[in-house]
Each structure stands twice: as structure tokens, then as C-alpha cells.
Subunit: 261 residues, 2 copies
């Protein structure tokens, strides 16, 4: 089977024009099939502040109300997505930017939670694998914004890590899928302030120990949980590391590689 | 050859949720291949006002400066485009929303003008006909936002009528293309305030007379010029009329049909 790289880049990359440019240049150099999933970044937050749209937090979680949804749809699917696509086109990558609504790419449902109404937040139900395969066959590189839809006319704000994991998993039957989480650090670090403390390899037993020792905590936990979910569902490898060193992550010379055993 | 309907809906439709809903329901009922091109509407103007971004006018023409470009990219390619796509998906239309940057769909150049710098405004150079044909063959209905790119990483604000005309023209060799300009009126009217004064048919000689008599003026002139340009380049028919009566426009029971002779 052909290799497919599903690469997620986080908000800290999207927010930093110099880092984003380097990262897209690296993406353009990847050989073979690749899909880019981008996060949101701070532009939506600052736009909301400029427009006087207050960000509602419930039990420490951000709520996507109707006005916030409008803003994230504009920023993620409009500004960020189209500028990434235009930059990639200038690098001779045939990029196409889509949300989950486009071609029914990612169907989701509004999050159901016992005590918190997250608002217009979507949890992924289904990936349109057939459409992705057809576009890949045309050598189109998809650039996916973290917006999905429910099939009933409602767009939904959706976690980009989960989208990347769901796409990687959905395509694991047709490609050798490598899921890469690119961010601003070298990978998973023993000491978050020391780049040289990179943990080169994590498997299930070592993950449990790193969690128990509080080396891995907060935002990294759902990221690595997503990684194991992908591996459990046929994804070949998951790599976490520096977004602008994508090709080094792919050839294994940097980053944290996660495997089951 | 198969029929293809290239339908442009204007800003006054996009701005009016009830009218837009009716219009998309009509679009969903069209038999055969169809492409929707949407205009911008007032949301970008009101967002600019809310953000304190002043609209610069030079010799009566609006200038797209960097901040305005950011706003129109967000509003047209993000909010408007994705909500239209999600609504069409709920109507079981396999819609996919694209800008000219996506898949290099529409290449343009920054407008060159002897005395006015329009800013980030694009004039269309080239349509990626092959990509459109492939997506049509997958029964995907494209929903195109009026944003193009220059191939060098720059997105550009582009007139939606011109995009519709360019796409219609580009596909005229492969389909029997019918170009429809949908707006809030019944068609071209002898008296702009009297819907029953609809002119059912315009050809080149009658257009010259209507222009000389000032029956056709202002914004309708470039629209009809675009219509004749399309007819000169192989488009089968051009129809101007009420956006929510799309199917009646197609079967000829309402609207103004434009032909060469």
C-alpha cells in the first residue's frame, strides 16, 4: 500500500507567519500522498474580542455560541484555510481547502454532555473515505479546516486533533497511514522546557508510566490518547514533533514516535 | 452534450435568509449538472464597520486594501460559502464549496488600471476546466465564493458575475451551458419599479436601443455585457431573473432571456 501522511498543525503554528511559511515549505517537500489538517489559533479569539463577542467558559471549557461559531467559521474556513491553500499553490502543491461540510467530508453531531452544553461543538461520526480517495487519486492535497456539519444544515466547531485522527483511521484500510501531530516543540519532552529531553519513543506501557509520573499531562494526554486510538485502528505510526521539521519527522530523525508495543 | 447550469446569486439574495433558503431549495430541484457562484452581500461591509476598518473609495470605486481583503475572505469563503454548502447538504445536494485558490480553480491577476489602484482585486485569467469536469463527473455541485488567487500566494477579491461568466465560457466546449444571473427582481424591467414590465427577450440590436434609451443602465450594463461575452464564446443561453424562481428561469416561464440575434 502507498504511504499517506496525515499531518495536523496546531494553532501556535498558524498564529506565527514565519513558522507557518517554513511548515508549508516542508509540507510541499513531502514525497507521496499527504493531507493537512489545521487548527484555529488566536485570530478567532482576537476577532471575537474586537467585535465585543464575549467568550463563555463553563467549568473551564470554552462554549461555542452562535456568534462564536460565526467567527470560527469565518477565520478557520475562510481566512486561515484559503491563505494556506494559496501559499501551497505558490509552492506548486495542488492544494484544495475543505471543511467537513464540503462534499459531506466529515459528518458530526452536536456534542452531548451530561452537565455542560458546549454549544455548536461537533463530535465526529463519519469520514467520507471515498471522496478523499478520489481527490488523492487526482494528486490533490487536501487542507482541512476544523469545521464539520451535522447533515441538517448546521456547521460545527470541531477539534482538529480528532479530525486528523479520524481521517487517518478512516484511510488506514487503503493506505499505510502515518499520522503526524506538528506543533512548536521537538516532541514529547521529559522536561517541557528542555528541547534536548525529547522522548524518542513511547509505547503503551511507557505512556502509562509517563502519565503516572506526571511527565505527560494536560493537553498532551488527549493528543496521545488520540494517537493510540489511531494505532488501535490500523494507522501505521504516529509521530509528534516540530511542525517545520516535517520531513525529519517522517524519516524518523526527530520527534516522538508512538507505537503500541 | 449534457446541460450545465451555471447560476450566480447576488448579494441581495445572500443577505436575506428567507430568500436564500428558497433559492437553495430551488437549486436543489434542478435536474442535471449545476454550479452555484455566490456574491458577497452586506455582511462584509457591516463586519468592516464593526471592526473600524474604513472602506476606501477612489473615484467612486471601492478599494480592497489588506484589511478589507481579510474580511471578504473570511465572510465570502468562510461564513457565506460554508453555510450555503451545509444547507445544500441538508437538501441532499452533494455541494462542495471552493474559492479560486482551491485546486487552482480560478487564476487571476491583480487589476491593472491607469489611474486607480483597486488593491487586492483580481481579474480572471484562467479556469481549471479539467478539475471542474472531474468534480461534475462525481456529481458534486460546486459552490464558488468570489475569491481567486494569483498563483503566487495572494488571494484576490473578484467579481462574482465575471467568475460565473468565465466558468460558463470555460465549460462551453464540454456542456450545453446555460448561464443564469439570479437576483431579487423578475428580470430586466422596462420600468425598474414595475415587475410586470419584464422584458422577456433581449438580443444585440434591442440591447443597443435599450441602452440608448437609458432603460438599461448602471449595474445592469456590465451584467449584460458579461452575458454577450458568454454568448460570443459558446454559452447556449443567458437568463436574468428572480433567484428563487430558478426552475422557472430554466424552463423559460419567467426572466429575461438573452441571445445574440
Amino acid at each position: 500500500m502507498e504511504n499517506l501522511y496525515v499531518i495536523k498543525i496546531g494553532g501556535n503554528i498558524v498564529d506565527n507567519p514565519a513558522l507557518l511559511t517554513e511548515c508549508l515549505a516542508a509540507f510541499a517537500k513531502i514525497k507521496g500522498q499527504a493531507i493537512l489538517v489545521h487548527g484555529g489559533g488566536k485570530l478567532a479569539t482576537s476577532l471575537a474580542a474586537n467585535l465585543g463577542v464575549e467568550q463563555t467558559m463553563v467549568e473551564g471549557r470554552r462554549i461555542t455560541d452562535a456568534e462564536t461559531l460565526k467567527i470560527v467559521t469565518m477565520v478557520y474556513a475562510g481566512y486561515i484555510n484559503k491563505n494556506i491553500v494559496a501559499t501551497l499553490q505558490s509552492l506548486k502543491v495542488n492544494a484544495m481547502g475543505l471543511t467537513g461540510a464540503d462534499g459531506n467530508l466529515i459528518k458530526a453531531h452536536k456534542r452531548v454532555h451530561a452537565s455542560i452544553d458546549y454549544g455548536f461543538v461537533g463530535d465526529v461520526d463519519e469520514i467520507n473515505v471515498g471522496l478523499i480517495q478520489k481527490l488523492l487519486a487526482e494528486n490533490i492535497r487536501l487542507v482541512i479546516a476544523p469545521i464539520t456539519h451535522n447533515g441538517e444544515g448546521q456547521v460545527l466547531n470541531t477539534n482538529a486533533d480528532t479530525i486528523a485522527q479520524s481521517i487517518a483511521t478512516g484511510l488506514a484500510g487503503s493506505y499505510q497511514v502515518h499520522l503526524i501531530f506538528g506543533f512548536e516543540k521537538e516532541g514529547v519532552l521529559l522536561d517541557v522546557d528542555v528541547p534536548s529531553s525529547l522522548i524518542k519513543h513511547i509505547n503503551e506501557p511507557s505512556y502509562q508510566k509517563l502519565k503516572a509520573d506526571k511527565v505527560i499531562f494536560e493537553g498532551m494526554v488527549p493528543k496521545i490518547d488520540n494517537a493510540f486510538k489511531a494505532l488501535d485502528n490500523g494507522v501505521k505510526s504516529v509521530i509528534i514533533g516540530s511542525a517545520e521539521k516535517m520531513n525529519e519527522l517522517i524519516n524518523g530523525t526527530t520527534g516522538t514516535t508512538i507505537t503500541k508495543t
